[in-house]
Structures are given as structure tokens and as C-alpha cells.
Symmetry: C2
Subunit: 313 residues, 2 copies
């Protein structure tokens, strides 16, 4: 037993679970694997790692609803991607855009991102947060028959609490939009806004003639926090290297590689989506990450075999 191991109730008693628990036990007791408390930093990708990202990322559904509303108002947009796919709710085109990105082809993603930044330009951060909260109050996953706010993986919530109980500071480091996660991440994962790192729109500061001030989005990206950008944003925010990192796709490889201190043991985790009955069996965009995991002895978590439960009831 390591401290608080009983929090991991949705994890089956497998070799994977034992690797995780052994790492934490070693990091928290005197010996060669000891990690000083201030260096116990754990970073987690979000889409496909903490919550479901198939058939498309949740944020993409949010964005396409906004784009569809724009095309409803302006028929001239209905012939142009990505408004066309949004208006027609062409989930295939949209889901493929992400898979192409993970495979190195950003052409469709660029179209989407260009439209996304226009869709939210000039909104204050608070108005955007209200849109996000409203979306999560109403929107459902297209195939899993559950609200999006119930799409967090329960074993991951337990892993976050388990690490925190052992002195780790937990952070989300996602390619998804930082301010899309912030309004709901505390409720879904117990992670407050200041521990969320992600992609971001550029932000402007405005003041009025009296006491009023606000921050609002510009029509441009600031960071697209994926691939090699993840270690850069993690350093910028924390000034530390993580010792635990978990992801599920090729875009997480640099973050997982970055998570080590010299020769000290590190825990690199990769979630394998191999569970067609309870979620998806789909490794598109994760091929390189899985190959490196096999080559470097990273820990692959099988959703099917290692988790006794996927979602909370």
C-alpha cells in the first residue's frame, strides 16, 4: 500500500496500476526514487486523457455550434468550410481535421482555427466563460448518451486525487483552449483555473474613463499548445520540469519526453483507447506515441483492461 492508494477504486488490480502505485510510493519515501515535494509536478493532457475526445473534441462541438449560428445568420457562409460542415453538422469532416493534425497535416485545422478566432473575437473573457457554462448545462455527447459534463474519466479523477494526496501538484496541459476548460474543470476534475495550461486566444486589456476594466479576445491565436509547444508553456507557467506526465496522442510526445529530471525515475503515462463497449477503440493520431511508449518503456494504460469503470454514474 502507498498512502491514499484506496482512492483508486475504479482501477483494476493490474500490472499497470502497480507501476503507478510503485512510482508514487518510491517518490514519497527516502531512497533513490525520492522526489522533493516542491518538484512533485504532474501534468495531464485533457482531450482523450481526462475526458472523451471522440468522435470529436468537446470544444469542437462548442465551436461548430457557434459557427452554425453564424451561418444561420449569414447564408453566404454556408458554402465555405468550416461553416459548411458546422451548418450541416458534418461530424466526419470535423473529426478528420483533428486526426489529420495529429498526423502532421494542419490544413483543415487551420481553416477551423481561423474561423474560431473570428467567432469569439471581441468577447470579454467573462462573456466567453458564460457561453461555455451554458453549453455544458445543455449539450450531450453525440453517441455516449450522457451530458458532456459527465464525460470525464472517473479513474483519472481518482488518479488526480491520489497524486495530490501524495504531495503532487496537478496541472492540465492541453492543446485545447485554456479558457474553455477553466469554467468547468473545477467541477469535473477538481482543478482550479490557475492550474490549467492550454491553447489561448490573444487577449486585449481595455479600460473606460471611470473604474471599469476588462480583458477580451482578439481575433488571433496566442499559442497553440500542442506538440513541442507543450514543454515551453509548461516551463513558462511553472518554472519546473514535471516528473509525471500523461497523454494519449502524438501531440503529447514532447511533454512526456520533457517530464524527467536527469536520471531520476519519471512516470510517463499513455492512455490507450481500446474499449469499444464503454468508449471507443480508436488509436488514430496516437501511432507514434504508442511506438515510443513500447520503445522507451512508458506505461500504457488500457482503458479496457486497467479500468473497472470509465465514467461516474
Amino acid at each position: 500500500m502507498s498512502p491514499a492508494e484506496d482512492l483508486l477504486v475504479s482501477w483494476s488490480d493490474t500490472a499497470t496500476r502497480r507501476r503507478v502505485v510503485d512510482f508514487v510510493a518510491s517518490a514519497t519515501r527516502d531512497g533513490p526514487g525520492f522526489v522533493p515535494p516542491e518538484e512533485r509536478v504532474a501534468v495531464f493532457d485533457n482531450d482523450g486523457t481526462l475526458w472523451c475526445e471522440k468522435p470529436m473534441p468537446i470544444q469542437l462541438d462548442f465551436t461548430l455550434r457557434r459557427l452554425a449560428a453564424m451561418a444561420t445568420d449569414d447564408p453566404s457562409l454556408r458554402d465555405r468550410q468550416p461553416w459548411k460542415a458546422s451548418y450541416e453538422r458534418d461530424v466526419t469532416w470535423l473529426g478528420e481535421a483533428m486526426v489529420k493534425h495529429y498526423r502532421g497535416d494542419d490544413s483543415d485545422l487551420q481553416l477551423l482555427m481561423g474561423a474560431s478566432v473570428q467567432a469569439f473575437a471581441d468577447l470579454t473573457v467573462h462573456a466567453y466563460a458564460a457561453l461555455v457554462t451554458d453549453f455544458f448545462d445543455h449539450a450531450h455527447h453525440p453517441t455516449l448518451d450522457r451530458p458532456y459534463r459527465s464525460c470525464a474519466y472517473q479513474p483519472m479523477v481518482e488518479l488526480l486525487r491520489y497524486l495530490e494526496a501524495n504531495g503532487f501538484a496537478t496541472y492540465i496541459a492541453s492543446g485545447g483552449d485554456r479558457d474553455f476548460m477553466r469554467p468547468v474543470a473545477d467541477e469535473l476534475y477538481g482543478i482550479p483555473p490557475e492550474r490549467i495550461i492550454g491553447s489561448s486566444l490573444a487577449i486585449d486589456y481595455r479600460e473606460d474613463d471611470d473604474e471599469g476594466t476588462d480583458v477580451l479576445y482578439k481575433a488571433e491565436m496566442e499559442f497553440f499548445d500542442d506538440g513541442p509547444v507543450k514543454p515551453v508553456r509548461i516551463w513558462s507557467r511553472l518554472g519546473r520540469r514535471p516528473v509525471v506526465a500523461m497523454g494519449n496522442s502524438n501531440g503529447d510526445i514532447p511533454m512526456l519526453r520533457f517530464a524527467r529530471h536527469g536520471d531520476r525515475p519519471a512516470l510517463r503515462l499513455l492512455l490507450l483507447h481500446d474499449d469499444p463497449d464503454r468508449e471507443y477503440d480508436d488509436t488514430a493520431g496516437a501511432e507514434d506515441a504508442l511506438a515510443r511508449a513500447a520503445d522507451r518503456d512508458w506505461t500504457v494504460i488500457s482503458m479496457r483492461d486497467d479500468w473497472s469503470r470509465v465514467f461516474a454514474d
Copy 2:
């Protein structure tokens, strides 16, 4: 008495101190001034607020030593600013560059920053941290007869601890370089790297063919975190508005303005350098901030009258 008020031992019993204590007491007890614990965010400028910035910011001394070393190696640099001032140790030219900046003229600061980014380009973040630590191990303040690492204001360290004891999360939000503060801020102020916001050089991520990864500086600025950029960087890092903010110069006005939630009370603090015997009597670059403080009833802290001690022994 408010909780932990006895931590403020270097503060004189003045109306200023009572305003600070009354705000904290009100924020932490039921009533109209109550601030929920998760919203108790306090942000502090660094140069001239937490440590001495006259006759020039400490970071500027660090940088000019680096530039002087470059001019020692390369005589052709000795006729060009800012290498000329660095090589000749022309403190006046360098100090004036900052005052001109606070007054809206960035010409000399641009020269300095251009040279600074060249001076540290291609260093890894760890190599840079080692240079900073070495500087603080040896360098002394030019007039105060004390090492730079003893130039933190003792009453400010007490204020940080007092706020934390009352459930506030404390952050540095400085125009100075984030990674120049990180190696020493824990020792000087008890503020860890992840709670430091500041200016930054752009960062690159590199990996080798095996397991090695590193992050290192590019020859360009990422953010110059002063003036209207401060609220933007604070939001980006925290996803929250502060309710306590403190600074000492015109560049802090937007941050102080940003520190409020609707009509809820906020604490905006401005340090007045009016103490020629123990530090400096110099408000250059703070004129607009002091005018706004008078106009809006922000709390001005007089170093001379409100602090019984300035530096720890």
C-alpha cells in the same frame, strides 16, 4: 486584531496599516466585504515594490555585467549603446532609461532590450538560472552597502505571509524578467517559481536523438509585462481577477485598476519612496500612479512613516 496581524512587526501603527488590516479582516469574515477563499488573489509588482530598484533595477545590473563582458571580448561593441554604458559602468544612462520608460519614452529601453535578448540567446533556462544564482551569491547594491539578496523589503515579506495566513494566494506580477526572479524569489520572499509572472524571453524546445530534452531562450522577447500587459498576463496565468494589488510606478496602474470584482471592496496599494535615510526619496516614473491614488483613494504606503524597518538585518 485580524488573524495573524502580529506578523506585521516591521509596520508602524499608522492609518495605512489599519486600512490594510481592516480590509483583510473584512475579506475573511461574513459580511458585505467577504471574499470567497478561491478569489483571494493578491498580486505584487517586484522592482520598487518587493525589492529596491534605485539607482537601477537589480536585473539591469545583472544584464550590464553581461554586456560589459561582451564588450571586453569584442572592442567593437564599446562605442555602441548599451554596451558603451555597460562597459564604462555609466549608471546614469542606464537608470534614466527606466525613468524615460515610465514617462512613455521607450527609446533607450529598446536599445537595452535588444542587447539583452542577444546576451542570453541560446542559453538553456537552467544555465541562465545558474548565472542568476551566481550573481546573487556575489553582487552588492551600489549604494546601500548590502548584498542584493538582502535588498528585499522586510515589511513586504511580512505582508505576504500575513495575506497567506488569511487565505490569500500571493503572486509576483512584475515588469522584470520572470526567470531572473525565479531562482531567488523563494529564498527572498517565500514565493515559488509557479507563482511568478513577469516579462519573458521567447523559449524554444529541443530534443536530441535519445532521451534528452531542453528549453532554451530565443533572441527575442515574448512579453514585456508592464502597463496594460500586466492584467493580460495575470488573467492568462490565473483565470481570475485579483482583489489585492500593489505596485509603485506608472506601469502598475492597469494592474491596480484590474484588481476589483464589481462593487466588492478591493485593496490597491502603492509604495511611496520617501525615505532618503534608509532607502531613496524618488518618485520619478510614479507621478501618474500617485495622482490616481489620490483621486481614487488607493492606499499609499509611505516607506518613511509606515515602516519601522525597511530591510532585514
